[in-house]
């Protein structure tokens, strides 16, 4: 445990003794428990400030960066905005929170974040904290810590925290567990520690709201802060796992060349190195959102959406086709016909 600084206030002439250095009790202001200590929170985007994928999703999956909403019922996930002054933490004005509106039916609803590497917090005591509420009544939900040893690794180990009872008012919930040791386990590729702030077994229609998710190596919850403490840090941390281009009409999505008169290949650089080479490309689903800019500023619409070809840690490549009109071998740009166009590269766990 960090024990420095061992003394908060110094006066001229004070002498820092060995006892000061070793004093871990009393009125010592440990960095670990201070509100602005860096990197104490392993949850990325815990304040729901980053939404690269958009602001609403009518199915299970990723919406808010790094968080996976899962259910077997009809569902709408969305970004909600706090009315100024109503965020649940005094002194920390959150802007957005996450909502999962589950319809009646199905059997479960959960929210998860996979923290890279199953070695994370292995053998340590951790505290998960978050602010949450539901739309009506009360609901008891579980909290889960899944040690997943990855492809080729040992069988996953589930550790269950205390159940928490959500109400219609924003409340901070905390649960403390001992994450099991990984001694004797086989760690495969892409292992992770999966955190479930809520894991509910329910067929009822219920709307979950959540903000301020934090996981720290401690036996009590300290004040919330994001994983990196900065806006740019949180975006970069998210983009290690997923990167989506933000475009307006006419934006150039990537540079490359025409491979034939009816198609081309383009490469897009990532703003940060990704966790692993991406294995998927997300697009809008509409071919006409995309075009090829070639020759003397000629725009030719695509007749199929861009397709994943390859990825590295720092760039991704895609192909697309047009009906005709390109000159094979010429340089060209993949072009956004409107603001619906995007390229999303995923290296999620």
């Amino acid at each position: 445990m960090a024990t420095f600084p061992s003394k908060v206030n110094y006066a001229t002439g004070d002498i820092l003794t060995a006892q000061n250095m070793n004093d871990v009790g009393g009125a010592i202001n440990l960095l670990q428990s201070a509100q602005f200590a860096g990197a104490k929170n392993k949850i990325i985007n815990g304040d729901y400030g980053v939404w690269q994928r958009g602001t609403t999703l009518a199915t299970f999956g990723y919406l808010a960066d790094r968080f996976y909403g899962d259910t077997n019922a009809t569902v709408t996930q969305s970004r909600q905005t706090f009315t100024a002054g109503t965020a649940p933490v005094a002194g920390y004005e959150g802007q957005f929170f996450y909502r999962m509106a589950k319809s009646a039916g199905g059997t479960y609803a959960s929210l998860q974040q996979k923290i890279e590497d199953v070695r994370t917090y292995a053998g340590q005591t951790v505290t998960l904290s978050f602010y949450a509420k539901i739309d009506t009544g009360t609901l008891s939900v579980g909290t889960v810590f899944e040690q997943n040893f990855g492809s080729g690794g040992s069988t996953a180990v589930y550790t269950y925290g205390s159940n928490v009872t959500l109400t219609t008012s924003w409340t901070r919930f905390t649960t403390t567990v001992a994450i099991p040791s990984i001694t004797g386990k086989t760690i495969g590729t892409s292992s992770f520690l999966n955190i479930y702030p809520f894991n509910a077994t329910t067929a009822a229609a219920v709307t979950f709201d959540i903000w301020g998710v934090q996981l720290e190596a401690a036996s009590t919850a300290s004040n919330f802060q994001t994983a990196t403490g900065t806006i740019q840090g949180e975006i970069a941390a998210c983009q290690r796992y997923y990167y989506r281009t933000v475009v307006t009409t006419g934006s150039r999505l990537g540079s490359g060349y025409n491979t034939s008169t009816a198609g081309g290949a383009w490469t897009i650089s990532f703003p940060v190195s990704m966790r692993t080479a991406p294995s998927a490309l997300e697009v809008s689903g509409t071919a006409a959102d995309y075009a090829v800019l070639h020759g003397n500023f000629t725009v030719t619409n695509c007749n199929a959406v861009p397709v994943f070809v390859a990825g590295t840690l720092v760039n991704g490549s895609c192909t697309a086709t047009v009906a005709s009109g390109l000159t094979a071998g010429q340089g060209s740009l993949l072009y956004a016909n409107n603001s619906n166009a995007y390229l999303g590269w995923s290296a999620e766990l």
Binding site: Y158, Y160, G161, T201, V283, S284, V305, V307, F308, V309
Partner: protein, 53 residues
């Protein structure tokens, strides 16, 4: 939602298309993609809901 083999690249990598219920393709991926693998091999063990320590 389903996945279909879309093409094989010049270097032999199989590219799959995820075809959503509305018929649109919004994702293309390799066979290593976790979401494709999860669709191919549904997870047998899930965390127990509402289970307390």
């Amino acid at each position: 939602m389903k996945y279909e083999l879309l093409e094989t690249t010049f270097d032999g990598i199989k590219i799959y298309a995820r075809i959503d219920d509305d018929g649109l393709t919004r994702v293309t991926c390799t066979e290593d993609n976790p979401d494709y693998q999860a669709w191919l091999n549904p997870k047998e063990v899930k965390a127990d809901g509402n289970k307390a320590k």
